[in-house]
Every structure is written in structure tokens, then in C-alpha cells.
């Protein structure tokens, strides 16, 4: 009793301390300049490897740095108050805010100098002199004004329309390009189609090179490794040509210079519940928008306001949704604006919000198709890995049961090695290492990786399952005159199966969930797809919950299927009758 009380007290004390700590971190003063952040009390998010990281290390060395591999996770972290600042490319952050990222603003001053965005070149590319070719192409595009035009269309005016670029009829070679697919406006998904500045650049380069283009999707932390391993010929993913990256891969000439800015939390919500109410358009000139001047957003805003005044706003459905979203949090003036344009807004309350989220996650741009594709790939990888893994596992298990010591030893070591390695690491070794220079589908690599992984686990389960079958029964079978293999397949294995199927079922389901890491090797499974959608909707909760629900459903359907097999294998659950006999 005393102990329980003590424990309870400690628990309460601990939670109390956490709460206080949470409050304290929530009450930091408003950040208005970059220099303020250069303080150990502040946590800033930095993107892995890019210009942001470089600049943050150079100019904000004192702050606590937290590394993010994707920009969207960084955005979510700062909007939820887990960070005090997020250092990233200004253009992209402006787009994120335009897409509905809330509770943040961008500081006006730039962090450090501008940095080149360039095309990363794989040292292992099978295209000769790729770097020179890229540079020639860039020089030509620059000279013809194509690059400026592209920047203007995609970035400055945010039109988001891809021009018609004819693919070469008789390609000379194949060009594999890596990009991210999660960074608006450079490389992102519109529905199920990949689009953006970089994607246009990829197609244009492919056309110029007379090459058949294949685009692969990576996170920033995987893309360099992929180029290094020769999985892709080049990277067009608004990649900053940092010193660190130059050590690993080569870079072309500058495509355009990027500037780094700092995103901080805006103080709205810390005062009155609703914040300041904007009544007229002139209220927009307040502090909130001061941070946005000079980039894209002001232009976008001007365009929107102008359209509203003229009454002929031609905004996309998506953008409408986003402004709509802004409405309930930001300002009444926006409401007026959108009402003029679309007519139907005014959605408040939990269920309305849910409906909005549903719309933006599933319906807009036909994103359900993307989800369906991802789901298909998840199921494909799971099912095939399950089948192959089981066969391979059986083989492994047999290896370990042979009389030959070295073979047993090999089996044991193999199982140990695989079990002792995180599956992500194993997949990356397979993809970037073993199959690095082989032209092989990443889905196949995933299937191979998970098959081997599943084999290691299932072989152990089969082995213990087989060992639990009492030896006397095999002796009895042998004594009757069955051969060793007959004994194994007729007597031992059927009973072992009854033992190991329930455990195997659990292992298989956990493998289904583990497949969520295949995004690391450029497979667009369910999880990766939800990342892609999140990078567009800037919403954390709904897509994640949806993903969880889908995994839950898939896992349960598969469990049911395996339970069916389990019932089949277990004789006692079946009706008692003897087949092929007239009783």
C-alpha cells in the first residue's frame, strides 16, 4: 500500500514537472530576429544535409539543432510548438504557409548568403560526360530564358501547370532521375501525377538528351546515397550544392540561387482565443504579413485580392480549400474574399473540419487513387514477401536441421545476422549496396529484403515448432516403417504447423506494418503516399489516422485469412469424419 502511494505520488510529481516544463517552453518570448535564436535555450529544426543545415551551423551555432529528413515533418514540428525556429528554403516555406500551414511566420531577414541549387550527378552514371551535358543543357536553357520562365511560372506565379513536353520517340538512352515528390512547387504530386519545377526540368533535360526518362522518389536522406550507388543518374530535387554533398557526388552549374530563411511560431493564440480580428483589407498590413513580403505570398495575395475585387477569381479548387482553411483561423477579411469567390464556406466545428480533411486527403485531385496505389504496393510487398519468406524460411529451417555442422552453422549465423539488423538498414544495404549498380525494381528489392527478413524469423519459429513435436511420435513412425522424410512430412510437420502458425500469424502482421519503411528505398507504399499527401495538405492528423486505419484494416483482413488457414491445419476444429471411407 505504502509503495503504491509512493508510486502514485511520484507519478503525479513527474507529470506535474513535465507539465510545468511544457508550460515554460510554451511561454518563450516572441522571436523577431534571427540573432535571437542563436541561443542554447532555443531549439531550431534544420533539414538534413541542405543549405538550411549549412547556414544554421554557420550562423546559429549556439541554438540546439534538431535534424529533419523531410521538410513536412519540420513544418509540423514547428507548427505544433516543438521547435522555436525552422531553417529552410524561403520559397518552399512560403508555399507551405500558402498551403495552409498555420501558427507560423517567416522572419524577414535571410539567413546567410544565397546558395546554388544545382543538379546532382551520380559518379556511377552510365551516361558519359553527364555533367558536361547537364551544364550544356542548363547554359542553353538559361540563354533561351527557359529557366527564368520556369521559375516565374512555378515559383513566382505559382501557376502549377506543366507545359506539354514531348517525350523522345526514339530515345538513345535511359535517364534515371531522383526527386523528392514532397516539395511544392518543385517536385510534388497533383493527384497521382508528379509535377513541379524540377519535374519540368527533368522532362526538358530528357527531351534535350533524347533519353527515356524514369523518375524515382526518395527522401532527402536517401537521394544522395542512391546517386552515389548509381541507382539514379542525376538528382533534380532543388538540391543545394553544399560542400558536404560535393564530397559524395558531383554538381552541375547553378540552376538558380536559393535563399535560406527562418520560420518561427507566430504569437497568435497566445493572447485572446481568436486573436486579432481583421475587419478590413487594410488590416492585412499588420505584422503577420510583414514576414511574407518579397516572396511569393504577397504576389499570391495581391492576385487573390485583386481577383476578389474584380469578382472574377480564377483560383483552383485546391487553393480555394486552403484559403478557406485560413479563414477560420486568420481573418474575417479572407472570409469575405472567399465568399465572393466560391460562395460556400463557413465550415466550423469538428465534423465539418473532418469533412474538409477528408476532402483534401481523398477527393481533391483524386488523391484516393494515390492511396489506392500505395495500398496495392503495401499488399503486394507483404503478400509476396510472406510467401517467399515462408518458402525460404522452410529451407533455412531444413538447413539447420541437417546433420552437417558447417551447414547448420551457416544457417544459424544467417538467421542471427538478419535478426540482429534493423530492417531499414538491411533494405538500404540491399538497395544501395548489393543491388546498387543493378537495374532492378525497388519493389523487387523490397520483396527480396522482406522475404529474407521474414525467412529468418519464420525459420526460427518453424524450428521451435518442429522441436516441440514429441520425438516419440517420429520414433513410432520410423518403427512402423516410414522413411525419414515420410515421417517428417506426414507426422512431424503437420503437428509443427499447428504449433507455429499462430506465432507466424503475428509475425506476418508485424511484417505488414514494417513494410512502411520501404519509402527509404524509393518505393511508394501506403506510408510514403500519406507523406506525399501530407506534404500537400500540411495536415498531420487526418492523413496519419487514415493511414493507421488502413493498416489496421489490412492487418485484420490478413489475420482473418491466416486464421482460416490455422483452422484448416488444426484437425480438432474440423468435423470428425474419415475421408474416403464408408463407415
Amino acid at each position: 500500500m505504502v509503495l503504491q502511494k509512493k508510486t502514485a505520488f511520484l507519478t503525479v510529481a513527474l507529470f506535474g514537472a513535465l507539465w510545468l516544463w511544457g508550460c515554460k517552453s510554451g511561454e518563450t518570448e516572441k522571436i523577431t530576429s534571427i540573432e535571437q535564436l542563436n541561443n542554447p535555450a532555443y531549439t531550431i529544426g534544420v533539414p538534413e544535409g541542405g543549405a538550411g543545415m549549412y547556414m544554421a551551423e554557420k550562423y546559429l551555432p549556439k541554438a540546439e539543432h534538431k535534424t529533419f529528413s523531410g521538410n513536412s515533418s519540420g513544418y509540423l514540428a514547428i507548427s505544433q510548438g516543438k521547435l522555436d525556429g525552422f531553417v529552410y528554403d524561403r520559397v518552399m516555406m512560403e508555399f507551405a504557409i500558402a498551403s495552409g500551414l498555420e501558427g507560423v511566420e517567416i522572419l524577414e531577414e535571410n539567413l546567410g548568403e544565397s546558395m546554388d541549387v544545382a543538379v546532382g550527378i551520380s559518379p556511377k552514371s552510365r551516361i558519359d560526360n553527364l555533367k558536361e551535358k547537364v551544364n550544356q543543357f542548363l547554359a542553353k536553357a538559361k540563354a533561351e530564358g527557359t529557366l527564368d520562365d520556369m521559375y516565374d511560372r512555378w515559383v513566382s506565379r505559382a501557376e502549377g501547370t506543366m507545359p506539354e513536353i514531348p517525350a523522345p520517340q526514339m530515345p538513345d538512352c535511359k535517364l534515371k532521375v531522383g526527386t523528392t515528390g514532397t516539395v511544392q512547387p518543385f517536385s510534388y504530386y497533383e493527384g497521382t501525377t508528379l509535377t513541379g519545377y524540377d519535374v519540368e526540368l527533368i522532362y526538358r533535360f530528357g527531351a534535350w538528351l533524347n533519353a527515356e526518362v524514369e523518375i524515382k522518389i526518395y527522401d532527402y536522406d536517401g537521394i544522395i546515397a542512391a546517386a552515389q550507388a548509381g541507382d539514379i543518374d542525376c538528382i533534380m530535387a532543388n538540391l543545394n550544392a553544399t560542400e558536404e554533398r560535393r564530397k559524395h557526388i558531383e554538381f552541375s552549374d547553378c540552376v538558380y540561387p536559393s535563399v535560406t530563411a527562418v520560420m518561427v511560431r507566430s504569437q497568435q493564440g497566445s493572447g485572446t482565443e481568436a486573436g486579432k480580428i481583421y475587419e478590413t483589407l487594410s488590416d492585412f498590413e499588420g505584422a503577420r504579413f510583414a514576414a511574407l513580403i518579397g516572396g511569393v505570398y504577397d504576389k499570391l495575395l495581391q492576385e487573390v485580392i485583386a481577383d476578389a475585387v474584380s469578382g472574377s477569381m480564377s483560383i483552383t479548387e485546391e487553393r480555394e480549400k486552403k484559403v478557406d482553411f485560413a479563414d477560420s483561423h486568420y481573418d474575417s477579411a479572407m472570409v469575405l474574399l472567399v465568399r465572393d469567390a466560391g460562395g460556400a464556406v463557413q465550415k466550423n466545428g469538428f465534423f465539418a473540419g473532418l469533412e474538409d480533411s477528408f476532402q483534401s486527403t481523398f477527393v481533391v485531385e483524386g488523391r484516393w487513387r494515390l492511396i489506392l496505389q500505395g495500398l496495392g504496393i503495401t499488399i503486394l510487398i507483404s503478400v509476396f514477401s510472406g510467401i517467399f519468406g515462408l518458402c525460404l524460411g522452410f529451407g533455412l529451417c531444413m538447413l539447420r536441421r541437417t546433420g552437417c555442422r558447417p551447414v547448420q552453422w551457416f544457417g544459424a549465423v544467417f538467421v542471427r545476422v538478419i535478426q540482429g539488423m534493423p530492417i531499414v538498414v538491411f533494405l538500404m544495404i540491399l538497395y544501395y549496396g548489393i543491388f546498387g549498380s543493378v537495374d532492378i525494381s525497388e519493389i523487387l528489392v523490397a520483396v527480396i529484403g522482406f522475404s529474407i527478413n521474414f525467412a529468418a524469423y519464420s525459420s526460427e519459429m518453424m524450428r521451435t515448432g518442429i522441436e516441440t513435436v514429441d520425438k516419440g511420435q517420429s520414433e513410432a513412425a520410423l518403427a512402423m516403417g516410414y522413411t525419414k522424410s515420410q515421417t517428417f512430412f506426414k507426422i512431424v510437420f503437420p503437428q509443427a504447423a499447428i504449433n507455429f502458425i499462430p506465432v507466424l500469424k503475428g509475425e506476418f502482421i508485424s511484417m505488414v506494418k514494417m513494410t512502411s519503411v520501404v519509402g527509404y528505398i524509393a518505393v511508394q507504399d501506403l506510408t510514403k503516399v500519406s507523406d506525399i499527401i501530407r506534404s500537400r495538405t500540411m495536415e498531420a492528423f487526418f492523413p496519419l489516422i487514415v493511414t493507421a486505419v488502413i493498416y489496421f484494416a489490412v492487418a485484420n483482413v490478413m489475420t482473418a485469412a491466416l486464421s482460416f488457414a490455422e483452422r484448416k491445419a488444426s484437425p480438432k476444429r474440423n468435423k470428425r469424419r474419415i475421408k474416403g471411407v464408408c463407415m
Binding site: A476, L478, M480, Q486
Partner: protein
């Protein structure tokens, strides 16, 4: 003549030896088993009885020796062991029914897979067997739904269904509740009456005596004594057989000399008596007998006659509630109390049921029954 003998013997074992890294359960076994014989193998635990059986059907590979089954040399490397095994059924101590099959399927499986019978034939034969052993209504039960006795009967039916030339029983009743032993033994007994050749490792002495035509007493890794039940149970020729058959408990001391630590031995004797749950009077009588014979008679005599190589067995037969002190010693024939009644002689006579002195092959035996 030799041919005839060969054709009669179903199993012939020559110099069979089985070694494990630490123990050698079978040292040297040579024996012939003829058709129609019911051989019971008895003997203390750990003397290689089960190992012998398991070697015969090659569940254990013999280290040395030749086993011939029905004219086929089973220990030959090229021999198809599974074909040899088809001729020999085996019934195990732990039943070893296939847990994932019903009883009738257990009996059908081998017939269908190995004898090539149709499922219907196998089923009919199986049901017939089950009915004769009284398990007709358990055909569709699974092994774990049966009692131990029922399981063992089913296992016997499974073996019989394979129509073997000989059935090896490896302690078929040892894992059973005493109440279930009878039902299993009666099934084995009826098989014996049908003329089935059998080899039974058992601890059921009465059963072995009733049902067998031949008994092997196994001890120390060999067939120590081989004979008819009458021979083995009534007139065992050899010492260990006698001890085993009479279920004797023995305390053995040898090389007793003048330096013998008698007080320590007295304590040993007392412990032995306690362990065998002898009465205090019996223990006292044993101690007294040892003291009078050794201290008063044999050791003084040994002093005169030189080394007499005295040894002593204190024996207790639980079955007969009889304790015996068996002294043996060398030298000329010498009855400790032969030279008239002295005090010791009267003491011994007073507390013993009888005394006996024998002299053979230069060894004296003096036995005091208490």
C-alpha cells in the same frame, strides 16, 4: 539342420555392442529369437533392456555386432532399414500415438501408406482390431482424449494392424496408472495366445512369468541369464538373478580384515536397515550377528590362518520380510560355530530363524537368516 534353425529364428543377434560417449549400455549380446517365442526381458533399470530393443529395430545404431531380421542383415549399411522395420512392430512406453490424427486414422495411416491397402480396407481392419480390444467407440477420438490404458491399447492395435512378424514391447505398462495396467496386459496376453512372436521389456514379474516362453535376465549390459520362466523364477543359477528375482536389497562389504572399522560398519548397517524399513529388533539382530561372527570367530581365525578374504552381504527381501547375513570367506571349510555351543553360538541361535553353512570351490558360505 543349420538351415532349419536359421529359418526358425526370426531375429539373430551376434556380439551386439552399443556405446555412448559416457556409458556402454550394451556390452556384448548374442541371442537367437525364434518364431512363436514370447520373450520377456527383465532386469534392473539401466542395464540395457530398452537399448537392446531399440537396437533391434535400429532406432539406435549399434556400435558393433550384427543383427539379422528374418534373414536380412539389418545392420548392413546398404540395408533399407524402413523395410526391415515393417516386419517389426514396436510398442512404446509413452504410447507415441500421432497426436494430430484420430485413433482410427492412427491405425489406418501405416496400412494405407506402407502396406498399400485402400482406405476402406484399412478402416475395416482398424475397426475390427479396435472392437476386439474394446475401443470401437473411440475410433474418432483424438489420442489426448483417451486414458493411458486406452492409448496403449490403441497403440498396440496400430502395431498389430501392420501385421509384423514380431512385436517389440518397450515397457508397455511403465507409464500407466496401476489401475490401467491390467487392461493392457490382457491385450498382450491375448496376442501371445494367438501365437504372435513378441519381445517384451517389462517390470511386471508375474505377467512375465505367466505369458512368456522364455526370459532374459539382463544385467551389466548383457543377457546375464537366459532360460524358461520356471528356471529363472524358481531356480536362478546366478547370484544377481537371484537378488533381482527375490527383490533383495543388499549391503555388500568386502576385504574385511583386522583393520576393519567395525563401529562405522555398525552405523552403515543401521542406516541400511532404516532405509529398508526393518524393525529395530531386526537391525539389532543384524548388528549382533555381524559382531559375533566377524569379531568373535572369523577375524580371530583369520589371524591364525592368514588372509581369508572375508566378505559380507547384508540382504533384505521385502517380499518375504526376511533379512539374511551372508558371510563368505576363503580357507578350509570352517563352520564358525561348529566346535560346540559357546556364548556366541547361543546368542546367534537365539536371534536367528536358521543358520546354514556351505563349502564349495574353496569358499565358505555362512548364512544367518533373521
Amino acid at each position: 539342420m543349420a538351415d532349419k534353425y536359421e529359418s526358425q529364428s526370426i531375429i539373430s543377434i551376434r556380439h551386439l555392442r552399443k556405446e555412448y560417449p559416457n556409458v556402454t549400455p550394451l556390452r556384448d549380446v548374442s541371442v537367437e529369437i525364434k518364431k512363436g517365442e514370447v520373450v520377456s526381458v527383465i532386469g534392473p533399470s539401466g542395464t540395457g533392456k530398452s537399448t537392446l530393443l531399440r537396437c533391434i529395430n535400429l532406432l539406435e545404431r549399434p556400435t558393433k555386432g550384427v543383427i539379422t531380421v528374418d534373414g536380412v542383415i539389418a545392420t548392413d549399411k546398404k540395408c533399407k532399414v524402413n523395410l526391415v522395420r515393417k516386419k517389426m512392430g514396436m510398442v512404446f512406453q509413452s504410447f507415441n500415438l500421432f497426436a494430430h490424427k484420430t485413433i482410427i486414422e492412427n491405425i489406418m495411416m501405416g496400412q494405407v501408406d506402407l502396406l498399400g491397402r485402400s482406405r476402406q480396407e484399412a478402416y475395416d481392419r482398424g475397426m475390427e482390431l479396435l472392437r476386439t480390444i474394446g475401443l470401437g467407440d473411440k475410433a474418432l477420438a483424438y489420442p489426448d482424449e483417451l486414458s493411458g490404458g486406452q492409448k496403449q491399447r490403441a497403440a498396440i492395435a496400430r502395431t498389430v494392424a501392420m501385421e509384423p512378424e514380431i512385436i517389440l514391447f518397450d515397457e508397455p505398462t511403465s507409464a500407466l496408472d496401476p489401475t490401467m495396467v491390467g487392461e493392457v496386459l490382457s491385450v498382450i496376453r491375448s496376442l501371445a495366445m494367438q501365437g504372435m512372436t513378441m519381445m517384451i521389456v517389462t517390470h511386471e514379474m508375474k505377467f512375465a512369468r505367466d505369458v512368456s516362453t522364455r526370459i532374459f535376465y539382463m544385467d551389466q549390459g548383457e543377457i546375464y541369464e537366459d532360460g524358461t520362466p520356471e528356471q529363472i523364477f524358481e531356480h536362478p543359477k546366478r547370484e544377481r538373478t537371484r537378488i533381482f528375482i527375490r527383490q533383495l536389497k543388499v549391503l555388500h562389504v568386502e576385504k574385511i580384515s583386522r583393520d576393519f572399522d567395525f563401529p562405522a560398519f555398525t552405523t552403515q548397517l543401521e542406516e541400511f536397515g532404516r532405509r529398508q524399513q526393518l524393525s529395530q529388533r531386526q537391525i539389532y539382530a543384524m548388528q549382533l550377528a555381524a559382531e559375533e561372527v566377524l569379531m568373535q570367530k572369523l577375524l580371530p581365525a583369520a589371524g591364525e590362518a592368514g588372509d581369508m578374504d572375508i566378505s559380507l552381504d547384508a540382504e533384505y527381501s521385502e517380499r518375504e520380510n526376511l533379512a539374511q547375513m551372508r558371510f563368505s570367506y576363503g580357507g578350509p571349510s570352517f563352520h564358525p560355530f561348529g566346535s560346540g555351543e559357546d556364548l556366541s553360538g547361543r546368542v546367534i541361535k537365539g536371534m536367528s530363524k536358521e543358520t546354514e553353512h556351505m563349502f564349495s570351490n574353496g569358499v565358505n558360505h555362512f548364512i544367518i537368516s533373521i
